[in-house]
Every structure is written in structure tokens, then in C-alpha cells.
């Protein structure tokens, strides 16, 4: 659409600008403030320069939680994106099945995050939980509060349970926008199922899939509540992802300087990855 140049449009944007700035800029300035100074309370601050940043960048604790965070995010992206596409492809296209699938599949998205954690905790308890009990009955030695591998397995399974539906809904919407004529043409040409998928369906889903990957990256990178309730970051620090580690440092130990420096580095990483995605997405849109 060709847009008119109109500087008065700023008046329409002012309410949004004020509300978001109120919430984003002032608190962010507090974080910046702490990141460069040392405080002993009573509003006494001493300039520290980049000391906290150096400390965080060199600390093994940060490297470890960053590593865990990337590992977790990549694992869930590798599971959720293909799984979501597969489910969307097999979903009914019309009839009574559509609303049933949509409503049931959206359920996990609307459960408060700590309830998701609590629910999976109850579900996975080795003695009285369905998952834990069944796995132990099948001969696996399963205990997610004691064993690192089990804790990771449970956390990943929980995230797959929680968020795959978002990928399904997005892919499904992308598939719905394909005109039947495309499929008819493919049938006349005798295209295989695989060719239909790679040549018609995947290109049409490209835009929604970019959004799905972007959203899943952002949200899994910021994950806090669910693993905190499920495992509390344990056993040990095995599932202490970035946010969990950060809250531990800021509110638990009250190391405000290092925590603020870590916040800024953390935010910067998310921003950088999203900016790359966003630019690529916009470039694709421009080409079409």
C-alpha cells in the first residue's frame, strides 16, 4: 500500500509511545545505572566503569548458563518446528474436526506458566505422577529431581507440550492460505507428495514459519517460570537457564552490579538475533 507522508500521525502514536517508554526506558535506565556502579544501599553509588561487564564476560557461571540456554533453545526449535509442521499437514482442512483440533490444541497456550510447571511436576513425579510412574514401571530409572538427564528430558518434553501448538497454528494458517488450484495443478503434473511439500507448501509457509521461529527463539530464550517451578534450576545448576540464573543473582544474592551487567548482555544477545531475523524477514517481504 502506498502511504501518505503525514507527520501529524505522531499524535496517534503518542499514547503507545508514552505507555511503553514509561515501562521500558525508566527501568532500563535503572539497570544501566546499576551496571556501571557499586552501591551499598542508601543511594550511595560509586563509579565502576566496565568492571561488572568484564567480570560477567569472564565468569564461568555465565558461560555455563549461556551454554545451557543455547543448547535448550536449539533442541526445542529442532523438535517443535518439524513436529508442528507435520501436525499441521495432517490436520483436517474442513468440517467439525477443525474447531475441535484448534480449541484442544490451543489449551496449553492459555495455562498460566507456573501452573504448567506445577502440572508437569505432578505429572512427572516418580512415585505418583503418570509419566514418572509409567517410565519406572517400564524399567527406566527415572527421577527428574535427582538425575540431570531426566531433568533435561522432562523440561524439554514440557516445553514441547506447551509450545508446539503455536507452531501448529501458524503453519496451519499458512497452509489454509494456499489456493486449491495449486494442488490441482500438482495432481495433473503427477507431482509426488514430497514435491508438493517442498515446491508448494513450504514456500507458502515461509513467512509464518519465520515468525514461528522468531517467537519460539525469543520466548524459549527468556524462559523462566516453567523450569523454575518444575526443577528449580536443579539438580544442582543443571537446568538453570539464563533467566533463572539472573533472578538468583539479582534477587537471591542481591549482587546488583553484576546482575545488571548480565541483564544488559542478555538483552543484547536476544536483540541481536532478533534483529538479524527481522531484517531477513523484511527483505523477503520486499522481494515478493
Amino acid at each position: 500500500m502506498n502511504k501518505t507522508i503525514n507527520q501529524k500521525a505522531w499524535f496517534f502514536v503518542i499514547p503507545v509511545f508514552v505507555l511503553v517508554a514509561f515501562n521500558a526506558i525508566i527501568p532500563l535506565m535503572t539497570v544501566v545505572n546499576y551496571a556501571f556502579q557499586e552501591t551499598f544501599g542508601n543511594n550511595v553509588f560509586m563509579w565502576e566503569g566496565t568492571r561488572w561487564f568484564k567480570q560477567i564476560m569472564l565468569s564461568e557461571r555465565f558461560h555455563a548458563s549461556l551454554g545451557r540456554q543455547f543448547l535448550f533453545t536449539f533442541i526445542i526449535l529442532f523438535i517443535q518446528i518439524p513436529l508442528g509442521i507435520a501436525i499441521a499437514l495432517t490436520m483436517p482442512k474442513e468440517g467439525i474436526g477443525v474447531p475441535i483440533c484448534l480449541v484442544l490444541m490451543s489449551m496449553p497456550l492459555l495455562i498460566p506458566w507456573n501452573v504448567v510447571g506445577a502440572m508437569w511436576n505432578i505429572f512427572a513425579l516418580p512415585d505418583i505422577g503418570f509419566l514418572g510412574h509409567s517410565l519406572n514401571a517400564l524399567g527406566f530409572d527415572y527421577n527428574f529431581t535427582q538425575q540431570i538427564g531426566d531433568a533435561w528430558f522432562t523440561t524439554i518434553l514440557m516445553d514441547v507440550w506447551h509450545w508446539t501448538s503455536l507452531v501448529v497454528l501458524l503453519s496451519y494458517a499458512g497452509l489454509q492460505s494456499i489456493q486449491p488450484a495449486y494442488y490441482q495443478a500438482a495432481e495433473i503434473d503427477g507431482a509426488s507428495r514430497w514435491a508438493v511439500f517442498t515446491k508448494i507448501e513450504l514456500p507458502k509457509m515461509k513467512k509464518v514459519l519465520t515468525i514461528a521461529i522468531l517467537l519460539r527463539f525469543m520466548d524459549s530464550f527468556m524462559i523462566y517460570t516453567e523450569p523454575f517451578v518444575l526443577t528449580g534450576g536443579g539438580p544442582g545448576n543443571a537446568t538453570a537457564f539464563l533467566s533463572i540464573d539472573l533472578v538468583k543473582m539479582a534477587l537471591g544474592q542481591f549482587d546488583l552490579g553484576p546482575a545488571a551487567a548480565m541483564s544488559l548482555i542478555y538483552f543484547f544477545i536476544v536483540l541481536l538475533v532478533c534483529w538479524v531475523f527481522y531484517t531477513l524477514m523484511m527483505r523477503n517481504e520486499g522481494n515478493q
Binding site: 507522508i5 535503572t30 496449553p108 507456573n114 505432578i122 523462566y224 538483552f267
Partner: protein, 266 residues
């Protein structure tokens, strides 16, 4: 082949429903049954857990608090986002692209980063432990999202609609409320759904910004899990009840969901 297609979604839905079933199952059991035995369905069916929640004010006020700030946040977000999304979809102005990206960056900010500064900031303006504080803080991620979705819907409306209305002598505001808003009701519905959803499920900020008076139900649950022993049945009942508002909202917007996603937003 046609019939086999049902298998994958069915298995997936069963996988989704199992933990929910287990939560419901636990909520209808007595504490002794939970601790002593492993049963696939309640042997002594009891509503005791639900009764406690509906009669104890620390429990049910949690629900009321949550609903109160979620509704407040949804209204503020959509009301502020409507004119802004219109501006982004219709006009070019100084810094529009940068502003749009800046808004989106706030959707990317990890809430954990903001928890402590929010606590200090809202305490200093005397809003700590009020519903307004939580509703305003959730604007941080809901307003960018609302602008993003609404802009998509508004861009799909041809500009000729605006021009025809002006030719017919409509003033801007009369056009906006009488013609434009009714044509994008589906979009507004979807936006409200997502604002409701993200405000309802968020806990970190809601918990940080409240103590007693505006404490959300989700935070009440974490307290019970940690302090008063292991009351799993009560916890399960409270958890089950938090699913209901979401389920109601999904039911009402089910026809819009696919359509909203189809525009490639969210």
C-alpha cells in the same frame, strides 16, 4: 491414506490432554489417597479441594485480582494500540520504521531483566501492590504485540474505504468509530485474545509487583506449594481452575484464530 491422517493429530491431542487429565485427577482426590496410592482415577471422589478454594478468601480473591488486572491491561493495550496501528498502516512519518522496531524490541526483553527495576520504580511512584501497576507493566509486551497484530489487519483494509468516507463528508473520528472499527472487529477480537492470553499466563512481573492486595492466583499457588507443606490436591484444584478462563476465551474466538494467524502476524 485418508483415514490414517487422523492418527497424528489424535496422538498429539492425547499427549496434550494427559497432563491436564492428571491435574484434574489429582484435584478430585483426598490427600491420603494422593500420598499413599497410585491410582489412574479418584477412588474416593471428593470436592473438598474446590470447596476450600471457593470459601477461603485468600484463594478466591487471587482469581478476582488476576481477572481484574488482565481485563484492565487488555482494555488499555487495545485502546492505545488502535490509533497507533492506524498511523503505522496508513501514514509515513519521521522515524516510523525505527519506532516500530523499537516497540518490537520490548516484546523481546526478558521479563527477568525488568523485574527488579520495575519493583523499585513502581514502589517509588506509590503504585506497588495495586492492580494498575500489574496492568501497566504488562503493557510492556502487550502493546507492541497489539500494534503488530492490528497493523496487519488494518493494512488489509483498502485505503479507498477511508477516502470514500471523507468524500461523503465524514469527519475523521466519526469515520474511525462508525466505519473503520466495525470492519476490523475480527482483528480486534484476535488482539484482545492475545493480550488476554499473555497477561493471564505471565507470573514473574505480576508476582514481583504485588504483595497482598493485588496478588494474582498464580502467585498464591507458589506460596502454597512452598510454605504449607505439600498440599497437592489443593494445588491441583487451583491449577485446574486457572484453565477455565482460557478455555472460555478460546471457545469464543475459535473461528478467528486461524484467520488471525493467516495474516501472518503474531
Amino acid at each position: 491414506m485418508k483415514k490414517a491422517k487422523w492418527v497424528v493429530p489424535t496422538i498429539y491431542i492425547i499427549f496434550l490432554m494427559l497432563p491436564i487429565y492428571w491435574l484434574l485427577n489429582m484435584s478430585f482426590k483426598t490427600t491420603t489417597e494422593i500420598i499413599n496410592t497410585y491410582t489412574l482415577w479418584p477412588q474416593e471422589f471428593t470436592l473438598e479441594n474446590y470447596k476450600t478454594i471457593f470459601t477461603d478468601s485468600t484463594w478466591y480473591t487471587g482469581y478476582l485480582n488476576s481477572i481484574y488486572y488482565v481485563v484492565m491491561n487488555t482494555v488499555i493495550s487495545v485502546a492505545a494500540a488502535l490509533p497507533a496501528a492506524y498511523a503505522f498502516s496508513r501514514y509515513k512519518f519521521l522515524g516510523d520504521k525505527h519506532l516500530f522496531f523499537w516497540l518490537l524490541t520490548n516484546r523481546m526483553a526478558p521479563p527477568a531483566v525488568f523485574a527488579l527495576p520495575f519493583f523499585q520504580f513502581y514502589s517509588s511512584v506509590n503504585l506497588f501492590d495495586t492492580h494498575v501497576a500489574v496492568a501497566l507493566s504488562h503493557c510492556l509486551f502487550n502493546i507492541p504485540l497489539a500494534v503488530w497484530i492490528l497493523e496487519g489487519f488494518m493494512s488489509a483494509v483498502p485505503k479507498e474505504l477511508d477516502e470514500t468516507a471523507y468524500v461523503d463528508g465524514y469527519s475523521f473520528w466519526r469515520f474511525f468509530f462508525k466505519i473503520f472499527i466495525p470492519t476490523i472487529t475480527a482483528g480486534i477480537g484476535i488482539t484482545m485474545f492475545f493480550c488476554f492470553m499473555f497477561s493471564w499466563v505471565e507470573l514473574l512481573l505480576a508476582k514481583t509487583l504485588t504483595a497482598v492486595a493485588a496478588k494474582p492466583i498464580a502467585a498464591t499457588m507458589t506460596r502454597t506449594a512452598s510454605t504449607s507443606g505439600y498440599e497437592l490436591g489443593l494445588l491441583a484444584a487451583a491449577g485446574s481452575l486457572t484453565i477455565i478462563p482460557g478455555a472460555i476465551v478460546i471457545y469464543f474466538v475459535r473461528n478467528y484464530i486461524a484467520k488471525g494467524f493467516a495474516l501472518g502476524r503474531v
